[in-house]
């Protein structure tokens, strides 16, 4: 079931618009009445962490921000694609670095690891046209766990 493609161009309101989409707009769609609240909350947290990473670290080369979120729901799993016009980065090496550097009760460096822990599938690519594309899935089952040292 395709849930739509949503575009965002206002940097100041981006995160709030994404929250509104997930808190109100999408759960109201026909056919999603039986999606458990926890499933929506996992999707919201994963998407929030990616948007927060864009907000805090992405380089848009001085260009106006363009972010799109496409969502599909199939077999109790959300599939989410986020495209943006930032310069992008090496997600795989960043995840490895942050895993190695994770301290006890860390103050920073958990966001992408939380996204990874929540996701079943996770892929990231930078297309030649200057568009970065993140794709991840969030299943309703499973016990996601980010192993933070305490």
């Amino acid at each position: 079931m395709k849930l739509g493609r949503y575009s965002f161009r206002n940097a100041r309101s981006l995160i709030q618009e994404v929250h509104t989409l997930l808190d109100h707009d999408l759960p109201a769609l026909d056919g999603l009445e039986n999606v458990p609240t926890e499933h929506w909350l996992k999707l919201k947290l994963a998407l929030h962490e990616w948007i927060a990473n864009l907000a805090q670290h992405a380089d848009f080369r001085g260009q106006p921000l363009e972010v799109s979120v496409s969502l599909t729901y199939v077999d109790h799993t959300f599939w989410c694609v986020v495209e943006d016009n930032s310069t992008g980065f090496d997600l795989t090496s960043r995840l490895l670095t942050q895993t190695k550097r994770l301290q006890a009760c860390p103050e920073r460096g958990m966001g992408l690891l939380m996204l990874q822990a929540l996701s079943g599938e996770l892929s990231y690519s930078i297309a030649e046209e200057g568009i970065c594309r993140l794709e991840f899935s969030i299943s309703s089952s499973g016990d996601a766990w980010l192993n933070i040292p305490f």
């Binding site: 100041r12 995160i15 929250h19 927060a52 805090q56 921000l65 939380m114 822990a117 980010l146």
Partner: protein, 122 residues
Amino acid sequence: MDTMNTQSVNMAFGIESCNDQTVIVRVGKALDFRNAAQFKATCHEQARQGVQNFILDFSETGILDSTGLGSIFSLYRQVSPMNGQVVFAAVSRPVQVVVQLTRTYKVFRQFPSLEAAREALH
């Protein structure tokens, strides 16, 4: 370019004193990258004034993200050498998702209500 870092959550964190050593922090609708620095500054100032125990009221919280959680860890690191505590009260479902994901219930005791937390820290 209009930077997203200028986004803010329009709120101050309410502080309610229980006694000389314990306060309730009303987290409100969000504790995330937009206001984590404000949370950290507010709580660290309380700790500097001698508060050791922090009850975090999550009853209205719709989002707790990694940066918000990091600011709570920062507070925990500040007060734990003084035998202080940081506890969670009235944890909302969005916050519970983060607690379960990160297993932070191992560090931060949870109470079903503010009253229960206040009683435990009395």
